[in-house]
């Protein structure tokens, strides 16, 4: 019970802090940083819904991010949508990203694990190349977002709240999925796809559905980001650094957990911007990003939150397990079943901490 209280308490504090952030911090840079952080919370949570739960690491989610941005940009241009009405284009961005996720998944999900990663990178570069070379995206000249008639004083704050709403939506959705039958099937696929199939899990539709949902949310994040930045180019929409960043955020915080990507985004995004500013050199900060990625994979491959969570689960199981007779548990790794039909309450927990 205390644990649940701690969890909800922490959540309440976090949300309250996120809502109060623009009121407390008024300088321009911080507001931009707040917006970026929220966009990345949403994007990392969206990435985690697919890659974290299923174990299929995508390094091509910028495809959805960029396509969401372009979908809004192209629609606004062609249909002459202006003002706050552009936010009505968000569902379109989500739908386009979701639609793209279908062929993306049908191609990439034919292969497993490492090959899958390579295929997602290849698809990513196809999109970047196409966006640079076709007329509808205006090639390398990019697109401008429609002008929003928001006063410069409130502009940042409003966008911050839009991004915050999106982040909350993404995290809520990933929480919902994780506890659901769908989420359990995804996590079973992550652990052993063939075994899951043998227990009735239809792996392909499940994986594809996760990719589509994940792509749609990433597309939303792309569109909101585009409205804020004001323009979009193939290099900024389909950005390999985006692919690495969302993956790194999820890895750092904890792949497959709900809170992990949130933590990762809230730590990494400010850190990255701070470094870029301090070093006065974007390349150097990108190199540092790579170094951090390596360190996380080597030192903390499962991320902060799952590692802590597993410790906790093991600890709780240990507390629940001890045999009724006598508090001291036998230390020998006991056989799980003693002879005979009905076992007496024997040695309770066999090697809880074997790893």
């Amino acid at each position: 019970m205390t644990l649940a209280r701690l969890r909800y308490g922490g959540l309440a504090v976090l949300v309250a802090a996120a809502i109060a952030f623009p009121l407390a911090v008024t300088n321009q840079e911080a507001a931009t940083l707040g917006f970026d952080a929220m966009i990345f919370v949403a994007a990392a949570a969206a990435w985690n819904m697919f890659s974290g739960y299923s174990g299929y690491i995508s390094l091509g989610h910028a495809v959805f991010f960029g396509s969401g941005a372009y979908a809004a940009g192209i629609a606004a241009r062609d249909w002459q949508v202006t003002g706050a009405a552009i936010f009505a284009l968000l569902p379109l961005s989500a739908a386009v990203a979701a639609l793209i996720a279908v062929p993306f998944g049908l191609v990439a999900l034919r292969v497993r694990r490492h090959t899958f990663v390579v295929v997602t990178i290849a698809i990513f570069f196809i999109f970047q190349l196409v966006a640079s070379n076709i007329a509808v995206t205006n090639g390398t000249s990019g697109l401008n977002a429609p002008f929003l008639l928001w006063s410069p004083v409130t502009f940042d704050d409003r966008f911050y709240y839009v991004a915050l709403a999106l982040a909350v939506l993404a995290v809520a959705l990933s929480w919902l999925i994780r506890g659901s039958r769908f989420g359990l099937q995804l996590r079973a696929i992550r652990d052993d796809e063939d075994r899951a199939a043998g227990l009735g899990v239809r792996a392909m539709p499940v994986k594809l559905a996760a990719l589509v949902i994940s792509g749609a949310v990433t597309g939303l994040a792309g569109a909101v980001w585009f409205f804020f930045i004001g323009q979009v180019y193939p290099q900024s929409a389909y950005d390999p650094i985006f692919d690495l960043t969302v993956a790194l955020m999820a890895f750092l915080g904890g792949l497959g957990s709900v809170a992990g990507p949130v933590l990762g985004a809230l730590v990494l995004e400010p850190a990255q911007q701070y470094l870029t500013q301090q070093l006065n050199n974007a390349y150097l900060s990108e190199i540092l990003l790579g170094v951090i990625f390596l360190l996380v994979i080597l030192v903390l491959p499962r991320g902060v939150i799952p590692t802590a969570g597993e410790r906790l689960t093991a600890w709780r199981a240990m507390r629940m397990a001890p045999a009724p007779a006598g508090g001291a548990a036998p230390s020998l790794p006991a056989p799980p079943a003693t002879a005979g039909e009905d076992r007496p309450a024997g040695p309770a927990h066999a090697r809880e901490q074997s790893r």
Binding site: L176, I177, G179, S180, R181, F182, G183, L184, Q185, R187, A188, R190, D191, D192, D194, R195, A196, A197, G198, L199, G200, V201, R202, A203, A209, G256, E310, T313, A314, R316, A317, M320, A321, P333, P335, P336, A337, T338, A339, G340, E341, R343, A348, H349, A350, R351, E352, Q353, S354, R355
Partner: protein
């Protein structure tokens, strides 16, 4: 009466290795059937073919008269065949209870779909495992004797406990037929007894089994009928006593072979 499971003239080759060569097996409903044979004789391949993990080159598989040849694994499971693996396969990063609930999501139509709320069974975002599924899962964990580990990560289970978990979650969806691939392999004698007892109890309640096993004592005690494979072909089939004394079976195991081929064991076929 049609047998519950019938495989006919099944052939399967991997490259140059003919793992199955016209093999067939029949399992009567309510029986415990055994499948034995030397290493590389094609036992696991036959399991894989039946459960959809391998496609046949030739031959047919029927479940209760219905053709299931080359059906994908999830479909075979939905139709009522559950299986375990020789090298025990569980979901290490799910808890023991969650392991159980993976299979619980696929109860056959008409069976306890979320306690009278059919929409629940279709809503993918419903919480994993309704009360009925959880109760059933806990019952089976009690039955196999690992209920006290329900909340622990499956990764922390010992080898024997994993075997029990695998048996338990295969049973969750009430399969008509359970295929066990070396259930007694690598586990201690008391656990073997425990397993045999559980299998017998389930069989008494009407469940059908097909068991691949190297432990002869286990097979001979448990099985009503034993089929012997050698080089992908059935060399003998019948009640345990009869099969045990069959000279062809002794040949297969001991390699007493006038043609001098010897039982060198084509391990690649497995």
């Amino acid at each position: 009466m049609t047998p519950l499971l019938r495989a006919e003239q099944v052939s399967k080759s991997f490259g140059g290795v003919q793992a199955l060569n016209g093999a067939g097996i029949e399992v009567a409903e309510g029986s415990i059937a055994g499948l034995i044979g030397p290493n590389g004789s094609g036992k696991t391949t036959l399991f894989n073919v039946i459960t959809g993990y391998e496609r046949v080159d030739a031959g047919e598989v029927y479940l209760a008269g219905q053709r299931i040849t080359n059906a994908p694994p999830h479909k075979v499971f939905a139709l009522g065949i559950g299986r375990t693996f020789q090298l025990t396969r569980i979901f290490p990063r799910l808890t023991v209870l969650e392991n159980m609930l993976v299979a619980a999501q696929h109860q056959r139509p008409g069976e306890r779909a979320g306690s009278g709320r059919p929409w629940r069974a279709r809503n993918p975002l419903a919480r994993a495992g309704g009360p009925a599924a959880r109760r059933r899962a806990m019952e089976l964990l009690e039955f196999t004797g690992i209920a006290r580990h329900a909340g622990a990560l499956a990764d922390t289970l010992s080898y024997g406990q994993r075997k029990l978990l695998e048996l338990a979650y295969v049973l969750v969806a009430d399969p008509q037929l359970v295929l066990l691939d070396e259930p007694a392999g690598g586990v201690n004698p008391s656990l073997i007894n425990h397993l045999a007892g559980r299998i017998r109890e389930l069989n008494a309640a009407g469940r059908t089994f097909l068991i691949v096993e190297h432990n002869m004592e286990f097979v001979m005690e448990l099985c009503d009928r034993v089929t012997v494979l050698d080089y992908g072909t059935v060399v003998a089939s019948g009640p345990p006593q009869q099969v045990r004394d069959d000279p062809r079976v002794l040949d297969a195991y001991l390699g007493v072979d006038v043609h001098g081929e010897g039982a060198s064991g084509d391990g690649a076929g497995r």
